[in-house]
């Protein structure tokens, strides 16, 4: 029962949605509107579940003193304080919530993302080697595109570097991206069919 009822829900609703997309009829559009009303009602419960999950996970980490449990205290305090600031004073310009966003969230987020530049520089120095013909092509393409993306590249090598960059992005890059997209698309269709027909059941868990 624990597996067959969720499986039945997925298969029945899956086919109903296929029907909605492929059969433009009043019944299918009425069904979709009915579902959307349910969706609006269900979404807030998702937020409650998320908050409960964060509280339970971090409370357990603090209780069991797992490594770096102190960060869990920071997470919980930050969540409660930010939520309180939003509810108590609103989220507009000049409120404590906006102050927190500008002075905590923004610099921390930017710091995390900017680490990428340092790791790319380090990785390119340590690992980006012309070990084979393919690696050499990749390396040259990377250098040209990097130069074409910045004004100094055009100043040094003229506007021709821009044209070569555009060609690399518009021809070989585009061809490979399109190939990947087609492969992913076909894979998604195949997996969706397997789920609809009940062949693919790993999403239900249980180790099968």
């Amino acid at each position: 029962m624990k597996r067959s009822i969720p499986l039945a829900i997925v298969i029945i609703l899956g086919f109903l949605f296929v029907g909605y997309v492929f059969i433009p009829h009043k019944i299918s559009s009425d069904f979709y509107e009915w579902y959307m009303e349910w969706m609006k009602a269900m979404s807030p419960f998702g937020v409650i579940l998320g908050i409960m999950s964060i509280i339970m996970t971090h409370t357990a980490r603090i209780q069991h003193k797992v490594p770096n449990w102190q960060y869990s205290i920071v997470t919980l305090i930050a969540m409660i304080f930010t939520a309180y600031a939003g509810f108590a004073w609103g989220t507009q310009e000049g409120t404590p919530f906006m102050w927190l966003f500008k002075n905590v969230q923004m610099p921390m987020g930017a710091t995390m993302f900017s680490l990428l530049a340092f790791y790319i520089a380090s990785a390119s120095y340590k690992a980006f080697r012309a070990r084979s013909a393919e690696a050499t092509v990749l390396l040259l393409a990377a250098i040209i595109v990097m130069l074409g993306q910045v004004p100094v590249g055009v100043s040094l090598f003229g506007e021709g570097i821009n044209d070569i960059t555009h060609w690399i992005l518009n021809v070989p890059n585009l061809a490979s991206k399109r190939g990947i997209a087609l492969g992913v698309g076909l894979g998604m269709v195949a997996t969706s069919l397997r789920i609809l027909l009940g062949i693919e059941r790993t999403y239900l868990g249980g180790g099968e």
Binding site: M36, M39, K40, M42, S43, G46, T91, Q92, E93, F97, M98, F101, K102, Q105, M106, M108, G109, A110, M112, F113, S114, L116, A117, F118, I120, A121, S122, S124, Y125, K126, F128, R129, A130, L139, A142, I143, M146, L147, Q149, V150, P151, V152, G153, V154, S155, E159, N162, H166, L169, N170, N173, L174, K177, R178, A181
Partner: protein, 322 residues
């Protein structure tokens, strides 16, 4: 151990230090660099500019509008925020009707911040009349809202961030669905904007543009080639290009020069933006950042070259020895 072998073993903290200096110095010491505009940016600019009311037309009567969708959090703001500010500045300067929307709770403060940053310079611009912030809508409603706006925007979104009924706002005069709100611009550090291509573009024929981080730009080229994406702002470079276009045309003191023209773009007097005190820093953030990016790219290329020279010399010596 010779110099090349030592370089092969270089502690990566030295690389981090050099990169940090390469990025920080150009930000502290500003210098001018020419911004070259590309076709995907120009196409977006020209389409948005075509939504501006004519000289004898009241902005409120205009039957064209633009939707900006913020699909990113604070981590990608350094690349995407200058794009958002530049487009909002374009819209406010040319009195183009503009809406903002997000399905991410963490993007809601970014929308407020972007609008307030630009609005300071345009006191005549009013919420509900020139622009509306639809605010944050829960992600689960993304699909019904995208599809619903194809029929009636005021029904699909219902209320704005200030709790006002959309249908009662003056800006909605002559704006009903994607026929009028004819361009959706999605700012994202992922491929989240794909939903607009799949539903708003395919089903209703709306124009879709993308503002993406540089690492995601390569993924968007298939959509650009097919025309599913009208245009694209790619990373900080795209933002810098748009900033320049707004400076040269939309905010030009001479009304006769506000129409896009390639001849005017070639004028070198617009290349001093970074040191020009008349252009506020917040409106040239991307161009200032491009200087740092230029130096960082050159540094990375130098690192690659040194690493490879060391690799080949070490390999050559090993071959001779053994």
């Amino acid at each position: 151990m010779n110099i090349f072998e030592r370089l092969q073993m270089l502690d990566r903290r030295w690389i981090f230090l050099v990169v940090a200096i390469a990025i920080i110095v150009p930000l502290i010491i500003p210098f001018n660099s020419k911004t070259y505009t590309t076709e995907p940016t120009e196409k977006l600019y020209r389409l948005i500019d075509s939504f501006a009311p004519g000289q004898d037309e009241k902005p409120i009567e205009k039957d064209r509008a633009l939707l900006l969708v913020f699909t990113h959090d604070a981590s990608t703001m350094s690349e995407l925020f200058p794009m958002e500010v530049a487009i909002l500045r374009h819209c406010f300067a040319r009195k183009i009707k503009v809406f903002t929307l997000t399905f991410l709770p963490s993007a809601a403060p970014i929308m407020d911040y972007a609008i307030n940053t630009v609005k300071e310079e345009f006191p005549e611009v009013k919420s509900g009349e020139h622009y509306v912030n639809f605010g944050y809508k829960i992600g689960a409603l993304m699909l019904p809202i995208i599809l619903g706006m194809g029929e009636d925007i005021s029904e699909a979104v219902d209320i704005d961030a200030e709790g006002r009924k959309i249908s009662s706002l003056p800006i909605m005069k002559n704006i009903k669905n994607y026929n009028e709100m004819n361009l959706i611009m999605d700012f994202s550090g992922s491929s989240a904007g794909g939903a607009w291509i799949v539903y708003a573009r395919s089903k209703f024929g709306a124009n879709v543009g993308a503002g993406v981080t540089a690492v995601m730009a390569a993924d968007q080229y298939p959509y650009l080639q097919t025309g599913q994406l009208t245009g694209m702002l790619a990373g900080l470079k795209g933002a810098a290009e748009y900033e320049k276009l707004v400076d040269v045309f939309a905010t030009n003191q001479d009304p006769a020069k506000r129409e896009f023209s390639r001849e005017l773009l070639k004028d070198t007097k617009y290349d001093d933006a970074i040191t020009n005190p008349n252009i506020k820093t917040k409106f040239k953030q991307a161009r200032i950042g491009m200087n740092a990016q230029s130096v960082a790219h050159i540094m990375i290329i130098v690192f690659i070259l040194i690493g490879n020279i060391g690799y080949f010399i070490t390999k050559y010596k090993q071959k001779q020895q053994g």
